[in-house]
């Protein structure tokens, strides 16, 4: 029992070798006795006729037409084979040499690699919203590293994403960990079961680094961007993140690291966190108290990490050294300065200093401008417009650092050195170079620093610490401890 089916494609040409290859492919399909694809020249028609494959449909084809002729065990096999042939004739929509292919647009790359599920956008801010929009249109979650994106655009993107069941991290999301994979500025931290929702980058970095030192580890770190919990944005991404982490089987506890949420938003966020069904820790800088009693509160990132790990970090008593450090200092030196590359670290230091009776002004928090003590977050929008972020290019900090080192009024200068993926390969270098200007000088300020990094980071952690110490920087075990030392130094002047 067999059936002969012919189909003609008018005016279709394909190279005869390609057609023979395709003929063999179709012949090999189940239920097909024989199949051939040929142009309808008289000679070809004769071949098909002799093979018993030609019927009146194929016989009517012209030399410019393509004949698909086959003998099958029934109509369904034949139709399957015809469909297969037609699909193969449609050709390849893209060539396979993708290793060398470069894609100029998010759309073309996404079409070529549809498995991608997260777009990491780090274009200049003016273009970021447009690319994020495109990414959402292609069904991807988005991490916007870029800053200088307007709050209106941020809100619109997050609303759209929520409707699509997609997550927007950022804008100005410097750090994230998804499934323990470090994204953008992030350290090689230990895997674990603690998940974090963080407003921005270095808070999450410092926390995850300390958690690793404490022997625990990170599951997810969702960066939501510094403005997410403002009343304008309404914590869209934060609320989604709480739901996601609450549902994530491998997350045991949730840590929130942020500045105080907007007045209208705060209660909703804390209510949701308190009732998410998992233990919650909040490190909300500048918020005195959270009313939801089942949220544990931490004042510093160290305290939060210790709560999460259920262990204490073995920290040397840095403030005890203050006396020795100021022993020979010129009495005219009375001022504390801090030059930060990490925004959240700057905020944390600001608050720790305040709690230790040192009032500073800074661009990280609302503050008293009359005080001479000052911290600067050099990664803030106003310093990065048209310039690289100081964690990418530490040389951005150097002119500021040289000014402060040589200012005769300065008693203590605080610095953060952030390691990890994304960061400069040798951030200590610029600091040690600047420190050379103090070589042989007796009347000089104390320079204290903290290295945010792990031993698995791509920079050599120990070498970085060693170089800084050699150059005269007094290293502290974490940022909040450095701020305490800074306050202690001022107290002993």
């Amino acid at each position: 029992m067999s059936e002969i089916i012919n189909e003609v494609r008018k005016g279709f040409y394909l190279d005869s070798v390609a057609l023979m290859r395709l003929s063999a492919e179709i012949s090999a399909l189940g239920g097909i006795f024989e199949a051939v694809l040929m142009t309808g020249t008289p000679a070809n028609q004769q071949i098909m006729k002799d093979a018993g494959l030609l019927n009146e449909t194929g016989a009517a084809a012209s030399a410019n037409d393509l004949v698909i002729a086959l003998r099958a065990d029934g109509t369904s096999s034949a139709n399957r084979a015809l469909a297969h042939a037609q699909k193969s004739l449609q050709g390849k929509t893209k060539n396979t040499a993708s290793a060398d292919r470069r894609y100029s647009t998010l759309s073309s790359a996404s079409a070529a690699a549809p498995e991608m599920n997260l777009a990491l956008i780090s274009t200049p801010g003016a273009y970021a919203a447009r690319e994020a929009q495109l990414a959402l249109d292609h069904g991807m979650n988005v991490m916007i590293f870029s800053d200088n994106v307007s709050v209106e655009k941020e809100t619109a993107l997050k609303r759209k994403a929520r409707d699509l069941d997609l997550l927007v991290m950022g804008p100005d999301c410097g750090t994230a960990y998804i499934n323990s994979v470090p994204l953008a500025f992030a350290n090689a931290v230990a895997k674990g079961s603690t998940s974090v929702i963080a407003a921005s980058g270095t808070g999450l970095q410092e926390f995850s680094v300390l958690l690793t030192q404490l022997g625990a580890g990170i599951r997810h770190g969702i960066g939501v961007g510094g403005r997410d919990m403002s009343d304008e944005v309404g914590a869209i991404s934060t609320m989604m993140a709480i739901d996601l982490l609450a549902a994530d089987e491998l997350t045991d506890q949730i840590v929130l690291i942020s500045k105080p949420p907007g007045e209208k938003t705060a209660n909703a966020v804390f209510e949701k966190l308190a009732s998410c069904g998992k233990p919650a820790i909040a490190c909300v800088f500048g918020l005195k108290e959270i009313t939801q009693t089942n949220i544990q509160q931490a004042d510093t990132l160290l305290a939060a990490a210790e709560m999460a790990a259920g262990a204490r970090l073995d920290v040397p008593d840095h403030p005890k050294n203050a006396q020795a450090l100021v022993k020979d200092m010129n009495a005219k030196r009375k001022i504390l300065k801090g030059l930060y590359t990490g925004g959240t670290l700057c905020t944390e230091a600001h608050l720790v200093l305040r709690d230790n009776n040192v009032h500073v002004s800074s661009n990280a928090l609302q503050s008293d401008p009359s005080t001479p003590h000052q911290l600067i977050d050099l990664g803030a929008d106003e310093y990065t417009l048209g310039k690289p972020h100081p964690m990418l290019e530490p040389a951005v900090r150097t002119p500021f650092l040289l000014d402060e080192l040589n200012d005769p009024a300065n008693a203590v200068i605080m610095l953060d050195i952030v390691l990890g993926y994304g960061a400069h390969h040798d951030p200590a270098h610029e600091v040690t170079q600047a420190m050379q200007s103090l070589q042989g000088v007796t009347d000089k300020p104390v320079v204290i620093g903290t290295v945010c990094g792990t031993r698995d980071d791509p920079q050599n952690y120990l070498q970085q610490c060693e170089a800084l110490t050699q150059s005269g920087v007094i290293l502290c075990s974490c940022n909040s401890e450095m701020a305490k030392l800074g306050a202690a130094i001022l107290a002993r002047l």
């Binding site: 390609a18 060398d100 200049p124 994979v181 549902a247 993926y421």
Partner: protein, 474 residues
């Protein structure tokens, strides 16, 4: 991929911006791909807004749908070279003192040197003036009516002169019944398409009119035309891209014509004509151009479609037409070609880009099919075969589809990119790459080199805004 899938299965990351982040992920064996991102070339926020509007939501869908229709018409075309006739018989109103030229509309005052030279030569050819000086006076005095080839179903290479007595080849699109015309290629050396206009040029044209044209007409009539789709398909696998390299297609066409030609003519005439064609590697270019026009004309005027239906230059301006905007031209100053020069010439001698031949790129050949023609990539300074592939792959980023019948062996038989989408041009900042000959800037000297040129982005920006305006008006 929903947000919870992301957390469960882990990140697979597409990077847009800093490549270092993607390299970091790749070093940890995480799936990550960096987009070769650059800021959009378009800086006008209105243009970007128009492109966004045309790309997104329901408007985007209606444009996509219209483009599908446009692509279907392109791919289902069946172009056949059917006959040769004098232009005056084919084109209504093409009579005394009327000259058709390449590119968007243009008056004498704005014409570049070669274009003026060709106009003067054409006037002498037609006998409207006895000398070139008298011809120039006639043209400068406003006595000649100028009109673009594209407005009359025709195309012409470089200066693209079409006047009443010139024999035109006719390509019929048998699927849609429309016809398109192009003059016969004059060969190399001093030729009117490069602005040549001396006696030898005129004599060559007269011979085309008296000898080659009629014999080609008889031949085509006797063999019921020559199907062109298959010739192109085979030519691509033989190293032609049909703009700068036509040696394979010319040979294939010659093979189709020669037996019948031998039968319908005197042996001496057949010898003369066959010798002329076989000595001119670019003979097929004009056939490919008429074919391009015949394929694209049924695509004109599809409401909402953002597909480019014509690209063309007149030596002064570059113009494009877009399906959803009908016969409106979007023009911008034409760019200078970059390329290699014949001995004794340099870019100082070059005329800005010129000709209707970009219809070939409009259907996915020429610069779009560079991967098929590594030899041409060498000509334009690219050199290696992989460079040639890059040109084609880049053009795929601004096209809706690939042509399943016109495939390129070196790209694993992927088809040539087809259907230029003005939205994708504006979004990516990638403009069409065009393979072109380079004319001397002075009239009468001819070709001095060959190279590539890009279509100006401004044409596509204008088209985007105009199409957006039309869609918003509904």
């Amino acid at each position: 991929m929903s947000a919870s899938d992301l957390l469960t299965s882990g990140p697979k990351v597409l990077g847009v911006g800093l490549n270092g982040f993607i390299k970091d992920l790749q070093s940890q064996n995480i799936a990550a791909l960096a987009v070769d991102w650059r800021p959009p070339a378009t800086t006008d926020p209105h243009v970007l807004a128009a492109a966004d509007h045309l790309s997104n939501d329901s408007v985007g869908e209606s444009v996509d749908k219209a483009n599908e229709k446009a692509i279907e018409r392109m791919l289902s075309a069946d172009p056949v070279l059917v006959e040769v006739q004098p232009a005056g018989d084919l084109i209504e109103g093409l009579g005394k003192h009327k000259i058709l030229h390449a590119g968007p509309p243009l008056e004498w005052q704005s014409m570049c040197g070669p274009m003026r030279g060709a106009v003067c030569g054409a006037i002498v050819l037609e006998g409207w003036a006895k000398t070139l000086e008298a011809a120039e006076k006639l043209a400068a005095g406003g006595e000649i009516e100028f009109s673009p080839n594209h407005h009359h179903g025709a195309v012409g290479p470089m200066t693209g002169m079409t006047t009443q007595s010139m024999p035109l080849m006719v390509v019929e699109n048998r699927t849609y019944g429309n016809r398109a015309y192009c003059a016969i290629n004059e060969g190399l050396g001093k030729v009117m398409r490069f602005g040549g206009n001396d006696e030898s040029v005129i004599e060559k044209l007269q011979w085309l009119e008296s000898t080659l044209g009629p014999l080609l007409a008889d031949t085509l009539l006797a063999c019921d035309g020559v199907g062109l789709k298959n010739i192109i398909a085979r030519g691509l696998s033989m190293g032609d891209e049909m703009h700068q390299r036509n040696v394979a297609c010319t040979s294939l066409l010659l093979r189709e014509l020669a037996p019948t030609m031998a039968r319908v003519s005197e042996p001496d005439t057949a010898y003369e004509v066959l010798k002329f064609i076989s000595g001119n590697d670019q003979f097929f270019l004009n056939v490919a151009m008429a074919m391009g026009k015949a394929i694209m004309d049924p695509v004109r005027d599809i409401t909402n479609s953002s597909i480019v239906t014509a690209m063309s230059r007149n030596g002064t301006e570059f113009g494009i037409r877009v399906s959803g905007c009908g016969d409106e031209w979007f023009t911008a100053p034409v760019e200078m070609p970059r390329g290699l020069y014949f001995p004794g010439f340099s870019e100082n001698d070059a005329n800005p880009d010129m000709g209707d031949s970009t219809i070939v790129e409009t259907v996915g050949l020429g610069g779009f099919a560079m991967a098929a023609s590594p030899a041409v990539a060498g000509f334009v300074g690219a050199g290696s075969a992989s460079d040639a592939a890059n040109y084609t792959n880049q053009m795929a980023e601004i096209c809706c589809t690939r042509n399943p019948e016109w495939t390129i062996p070196a790209l694993d038989f992927a088809g040539v990119p087809s259907g230029i989408d003005v939205r994708q041009v504006v979004n990516s900042g990638i403009t069409p790459t065009i393979n072109t000959g380079i004319a001397h800037r002075e009239p009468g000297i001819g070709q001095v080199g060959a190279g590539i040129v890009n279509a100006p982005l401004a044409c596509f920006e204008q088209a985007c805004r105009a199409l957006d305006k039309r869609l918003s008006a509904v």
